[in-house]
Symmetry: C2
Subunit: 458 residues, 2 copies
């Protein structure tokens, strides 16, 4: 740890007040974060934030997280008129559209994940924000938790994007993935997705590609700095994709994915952007081909950057709330600066040491380990090794003896020696290094060839 | 295309002047962009930008792009003292450090890709920027073109990151990938990488893990809001990884990657962060496992967002210049706003319609197509189909006849019918739809089962 001075983000006296519209799956999680993690969010913003109210249709509806009763209100307009920052999570066109318009018109900041509204009225609402001095952010509208709009708008703002291509609908990706891995027909895979909650009772918006088309319009608008809408997107869903199509594609090394594509066409014709959503064959080696289940990913091609891919969870209360809260912190910082009380500009790195987290020595690491040894070819070897591990509180996830057919521990190789490869469960670096030292001391262990760390998906 | 009003980013009268330090591989590309794409960059910033000078040691050195003679200077300090925004691409500790310090001390904005400097003096330089009102951005220092620092700092600012784990050194990833795919020994793979320009004559900084360790310190600092430095990172390189290790790992379903990891440890002990770089076994199903060759990728785990991955080109003049220019546009917008003349806040979406790009109808799309047909089982069928495609200017990339053994065109199936699957080269949607119509009119074509679009890696 360096001993150099570090900037501390002092919390200014100015309070940022937040009004939340809607307390469904995502809304309840956002409310919870704003209440339970208020200190963290305030530190990240650089000023105290306060959830001033949560507008809902019916205060009695059971929710994923119990919003404190004094915060609940049914008067969304009064809430919108009284706060610095509005989070819209009602969804759909109205009343969400009118409430966002109302907030922007008075110069407030708005964070939303409303893809349908953005895809049809995005240009108009962005124009309203620009004229009134309001702010409008909507990272959560495409790709759930995946930071994709901000990288396209900001990180790539000094480059020219030529193509954006994404798996942006988890329902259809789950269905196509099931068809690919199990050979199921479309109808059966859809029924399975409905049973698991990945598809709605009326799955039209997903399987007909409408949800993906809205996201294609939003991605295309930001990538090509031109105001595209839902109506500009050619759209084919996945209802006509057969098990036979998928099997035939697989036989030729392809996988079928529903892609949302916005691509610039300029060679030998009037330049413009084609926006399209349709089932697409991808070579299995393509980075998008391995995006499985309900995950999303967006592939971006830019003139200088080349190929980029952004991958993560495309839906769900917690992932989506992460994107909403990232926008909330960003616009709150900008609101502060506009009030003239911000202590840091929005794009200054925040290295506040807020958590006071020290760097720990490697001995504190816990990970899994792979140990590769040459051992004597005699009875009881494995039992001896296993005892050493157990004595050091290191448990075995898997053991392998190349060239041996038994898994019981006795080596059947003929060359007067054998090899043992162990993958441990999570262990501390300290316990592991003591284990390896002890193994080296066993007379049945000839050499320890390699000790390597293992990272697995949790 | 919507007909709604759109915000136009008016270019303010205020000029942003830029000084570039260094004109090597990345620097020459940045100079080129600032000169040749000046209008685009000015539009994205919202004010005219001007490259005021390029400081180099020797003006006579041949460069990737010929910097106009009047821009070249050997007086870096005078350049730093005269501009709004300094781009530092000299690299190394000095004179880069002193020049950045000089720029920040006078409240200027600095964009750099200098990982070594950031990893050792990042906390100090960030503190200096915070106190002087300067700006410091360094997206290009980790992962080349991949937007990774901004997503961590901003998009995830409302979440808690628990782990960051990346393939951040292209040289070592190329070497390990070669060892994995060809069975080569470390020395041979290194020699090959050197021959191809992926590894330097003295490869120590890469193969010993020092480059990755610097990046681990930068990633950890931003992810955990605490000032870590190079010295906090445990570091093991790849020189001890043997062909036998890689083969044994492969036999168990693992691939070996050099990972830079920053992970929070809090359960049952004093909380803190372990920062480490070492060869690591990853299951082949892990999203990082399929990152091949000189590509980079960073995997991030956050409490709400879950698992995210960012993938792209980790090095090279053009990719790195994309990250530099993204930072330049972002800090230039902030500089404008601080001057009180910015027309848009930095994080307002830029939907300026700058390129005037219209949405094109699907007929203008060009892509590859997959056509699956049932055809009559008789001679001359393929010739007839091929003629129809040729007549419509659609050429064939591959053709497949499941159940047939010939590839010459004559179907040998016995069941009085056969199946033909064609993947075309790039064709226009219009030509393709006319082709399909004509194919349906052929008496040897019984049915066209499916027509699907194909996207391949370029």
């Amino acid at each position: 740890m360096t001993q150099l001075p570090t900037p501390s983000q002092s919390i200014s006296g100015e309070m940022i007040t937040i009004g939340l519209l809607g307390a469904g799956n995502v809304g309840a999680q956002v409310a919870r974060t704003l209440v339970e993690d208020r200190e963290l969010i305030s530190a990240r913003v650089g000023a105290p934030v306060r959830l001033a109210g949560v507008a809902v249709r019916d205060p009695e509806t059971p929710r994923d997280w119990k919003v404190p009763g004094e915060l609940l209100t049914t008067d969304a307009e009064a809430l919108v008129d009284s706060v610095d920052l509005v989070i819209e999570l009602i969804g759909g066109m109205e009343p969400a559209g009118a409430l966002i318009e109302r907030a922007l018109a008075r110069g407030a900041a708005v964070v939303t994940g409303n893809k349908a509204l953005l895809a049809s009225r995005g240009a108009e609402l962005n124009a309203l924000a620009a004229h009134s001095g309001g702010l409008l952010r909507y990272e959560a509208s495409v790709g759930g938790a995946i930071p994709i709009l901000r990288p396209i708008e900001e990180s790539l703002s000094g480059d020219r994007i030529t193509k954006v291509m994404g798996i942006v609908n988890g329902t259809t990706n789950y269905i196509l993935d099931q068809m690919d891995t199990t050979g199921a027909a479309f109808g059966d895979a859809l029924a399975e997705a409905q049973k698991l909650g990945y598809a709605e009772a009326d799955p039209t918006a997903d399987v007909a590609g409408h949800d993906a088309a809205a996201k294609a319009a939003i991605l295309g608008t930001l990538a090509f700095h031109a105001p595209f809408s839902f109506d500009d997107v050619y759209c084919e869903g996945i209802t006509e994709v057969s098990a036979d199509d998928i099997e035939a594609a697989a036989a030729s090394g392809y996988v079928i994915k529903l892609l949302a594509i916005a691509e610039k066409h300029s060679a030998g014709q009037a330049p413009g952007v084609v926006l399209r959503v349709h089932p697409t064959l991808l070579p299995r080696t393509h980075p998008l081909a391995s995006v499985r289940g309900a995950f999303n990913a967006v592939f971006v091609v830019a003139e200088n950057a080349g190929e980029l891919m952004f991958y993560g969870q495309g839906a769900g209360g917690k992932p989506t709330s992460s994107a909403i809260m990232g926008d909330v912190v960003a616009v709150a910082r900008t609101v502060l600066m506009k009030k003239g009380t911000g202590t840091s500009v929005p794009d200054a790195p925040s290295i506040s040491g807020e958590a006071g987290l020290p760097a720990l020595p490697i001995e504190k690491a816990t990970t899994q380990y792979y140990i590769d040894m040459e051992v004597a070819d005699r009875e009881g070897v494995i039992a001896g090794i296993a005892r050493v591990l157990a004595d050091h509180h290191v448990s075995i996830e898997s053991m392998r003896q190349p060239g041996s057919v038994t898994v019981e521990g006795e080596v059947e190789d003929s060359d007067n020696g054998a090899r043992v490869q162990i993958v441990t469960h999570l262990a501390s670096e300290k316990n592991l290094s003591e284990t390896v030292q002890a193994l080296r001391g066993l007379d049945v262990v000839k050499t320890v060839n390699s000790v390597l760390r293992v990272e697995v998906e949790k």
